[in-house]
Symmetry: C2
Subunit: 496 residues, 2 copies
């Protein structure tokens, strides 16, 4: 099993110059806060991730003036390239794309950023009850780990049930599903306890849950899980759980040559000095018919504002006049999940010679799912693992050395002693990032979608909302971010 | 059934001068932000509610210098007096106290604020299935509404079960309960569905839940509910559900003569110009061994900082260095519940002549529980009702006239045509208040306490946390706020 991500930057590599393949960022870095203290534009966009940048692109194409205010010293938000000490690049955030993720694919194509297949040759590895079991992913079960037959049967029924229920959830208004009230009053854990009754089936679903959401089943509303599954498709192809978890034909199918941040960086380059870095937005105030957006080092006057940051961060901006209660309380109820990414670099992807594809599903350790994150030419090997939910929280206050030791212990367990001595090791700890404070995306506990869902996208006066959390397709993914930018640009153009 | 509250101010009555019985506030109003732009003290306290003011009192008594930075133009936070158009005062926030609430009682005693019994003579009223049933509260069932026998029996078992489970929850560390994991993985709704199987029993528990938490059972972790019950006592008397819901011998037993805000106002008066109003805190930055706390109009340098505001508002302050992930993510996961208070004023408490005590439990309408909020001399009548949870959210965007109409419709249903024409009507809408954004207190969904509970009180460097949400006894009540202030003062004095 696997998963696709929307993440961001490594704290140790803060400067834009540190970004690998950063040539395309040159135009962007010209737009520093010091260069301009006030601007007057049609639309001020808060957040220079894929959502904000896509909105800017479409608004500019329609002849509107914009400024994108980005808090960090780089664009990309939860999508970030990390330079490796010995050269090369790896990804600290969202990196995979897959079928039906049409909008991120179209955007990358337009920028000349090519894709390549996620390494998926050889066998997956199940580590369970202290035993390693390699298994082929092209057999009858696809990539479902070979637990006991009763567990497999139970898991198949559970998966089919989830997909069936997800089909009953309108992606643009999950709260209108006929059974929305019933599904939004219980945790995913409660539902799994009643349905994934075979322990090994529960194990499979638990791993799927933490892999997809970086959250434990107890943290999630069943309705939110069903919405997320339903959203894992496009307008013509309904979402399925399998599309979320698979590599081949799933959300982890492809990667970007040169690293995923090349997409937002390339997009930012086309926007030039419309993108202002190091400009965290503090207040959004209406003044007559216009808005005054105040960021560190720059104040922008605009007719409309697009807020394209995650809901819990949007809550930390001061709004004048106050936001309606529904919107404010929504942002109190969509916390970021908990995740870190750990990438160990080796001279070669040595596991390939052992017939392994680098993908692990494990019932123990701090890392319960991994990927081969090596570059397309395999000039070096990269093992990438997610530290998620409870495991991420346990390590939030640990030193990088402690995290490294815990991660490498797991990698040795899965791949042998060669894994003990990487040439380098990089860690992206999203919970500790000022401008994300968790990841990959917001999650919803019971009661949130049915009571507050409509406030996700409902504009407040001239303030419009974007970001992957607002997308009706591929919410939580790079594709959802791009879709949200396209949607919000249309929304603004309709009234501006 | 009934309940006690920690709430705050009416937006229409913003000025301190508008506060009834405001003589004691004179000293406080002298301490305006304009009078001092910088201060250097031992302890900066963020928030001038009961928690912050109590902490200030104890620190001053120990010889430390303090400043209390209050965002509003009044002290009291979620405790506020509302002046009535024709004279007199009513309460928009926390107003009741009861047995084992020793610390708020001691504080009020020390300030000379007397208590009187909440009006409780005559019969309660059950409105259910379109029928009104008055019932005595001194019978075998106490104040339990007379639903069918099967429902009463079921509700009694459920109540006993909750109390039994609550006894297994250590109030200072609910996450260490032997069954914490089991109880924190499900919603209270899921547990009720399995245990309150008779519909009328479920009705009783639902009303108890919204009355206590202003939240629906689906929004709450079972463990959080059990903790809240366990906390409804003191060090020698374990909490019970009944103590939360009762008037006589319960949390709604007594009120304060002159209105509950006289307590924080009196306390603020003793602190003089140490209290600074209109000073919302924006940043808390460590600079070497000291902290710089920046509020609108004033900057304070301090050795220690006490943050005494609700967690979701504490999240909106900028911290430098960043808070640990555990603390930040905790504040993303403790949203304010949803509540408003509606008080209709009549020439007389006319329901008393009908043998009613003004307390209603209803299965319909925007108001499902009411109190006789008349002054001790009954010189006029006041019917107070809570608009809670889903009902509050439905009305958040409604005009005051619309809310008034909906409330009076309910009051007429319960108390007859005389209720249709109050002499005045006041509304306190906590969800719409900038410096509360919901109420009465924070709530926890499944998974929060077990993963983030320890971060509730754990100091971060020189930053300490207070507020009723941090109290181990009477969390959610005025008493908890006072206890938290006393605890945090001890905590600071131990290191300062």
């Amino acid at each position: 099993m696997a998963r696709e991500r929307q993440l961001s930057r490594r704290s140790l590599l803060g400067s834009t110059a540190a970004l690998a393949g950063a040539a395309t960022l040159t135009a962007t870095t010209a737009g520093t806060a010091a260069a301009a203290t006030t601007r007057d534009v049609d639309v001020a966009i808060v957040g220079g991730g894929l959502a904000g940048l896509t909105a800017a692109r479409d608004l500019v194409a329609a002849g509107r003036t914009v400024v994108v205010l980005e808090a960090r010293d780089r664009v990309g938000g939860r999508v970030v390239n990390l330079r490796l000490p010995d050269g090369g690049v790896t990804e600290g955030g969202g990196e995979f794309i897959g079928p039906t993720q049409d909008r991120i694919k179209a955007l990358a194509d337009s920028l000349g950023v090519a894709t390549f297949a996620t390494y998926n040759t050889g066998k997956n590895l199940l580590y369970k009850d202290g035993r390693k079991t390699p298994y082929a992913t092209d057999g009858l079960l696809g990539s479902v780990p070979p637990v006991d037959v009763a567990g497999l049967a139970n898991a198949a029924i559970v998966q089919a049930s989830l997909d069936d229920m997800a089909k009953q959830v309108p992606v643009d208004a999950p709260w209108t599903a006929a059974k929305a009230a019933e599904w939004d009053k219980q945790t995913f854990e409660s539902w799994l306890n009643a349905n994934a009754v075979v322990p090994s089936a529960k194990f499979l679903l638990d791993v799927a849950c933490t892999s997809i959401f970086s959250a434990e089943p107890r943290e999630l509303s069943l309705l939110f899980v069903l919405f997320y599954i339903a959203a894992a498709g496009n307008a013509s192809t309904p979402g399925t759980l399998e599309r979320l978890t698979e590599t081949a034909n799933g959300a982890q199918e492809l990667r970007f040559v040169g690293g995923s941040q090349r997409v937002p960086a390339g997009l930012a380059a086309t926007l030039g000095d419309r993108v202002v870095l190091n400009a965290p937005v503090r207040t959004i105030a209406r003044s007559g018919g216009t808005y005054v957006v105040t960021a560190d080092g720059i104040t922008v006057t605009a007719k409309r504002v697009v807020v394209a940051v995650p809901p819990p961060l949007a809550a930390r901006i001061r709004y004048d006049p106050l936001l309606p209660a529904a919107r404010d309380q929504l942002t109190q109820r969509l916390p970021m999940a908990s995740v870190a990414k750990a990438i160990a670099i080796y001279d070669t992807p040595f596991w390939r010679a052992d017939g392994l594809n680098g993908q692990v599903v494990s019932d123990t350790g701090v890392i319960s799912s991994t990927f081969d994150n090596s570059p397309p030419d395999a000039s070096y090997g990269a093992l990438m693992g997610f530290i998620e939910a409870d495991e991420a929280r346990k390590l939030d206050a640990a030193s990088e050395a402690e995290v490294r030791a815990a991660v490498l212990k797991d990698y040795v367990t899965y791949f042998g002693e060669k894994a003990a001595s990487p040439s380098s090791f990089v860690l992206q700890r999203w919970n500790n990032e000022a401008y994300t404070r968790g990841g990959p995306v917001s999650i919803a506990a019971p009661g949130v979608l049915t009571q507050y869902g409509p406030a996700l996208r409902e504009p407040v006066g001239g303030i419009h909302w974007a970001g992957t959390e607002t997308s009706v397709h591929w919410m939580g993914f790079m594709d959802g971010a791009v879709r949200s930018g396209e949607r919000v640009a249309k929304e603004v153009l309709a009234v501006l």
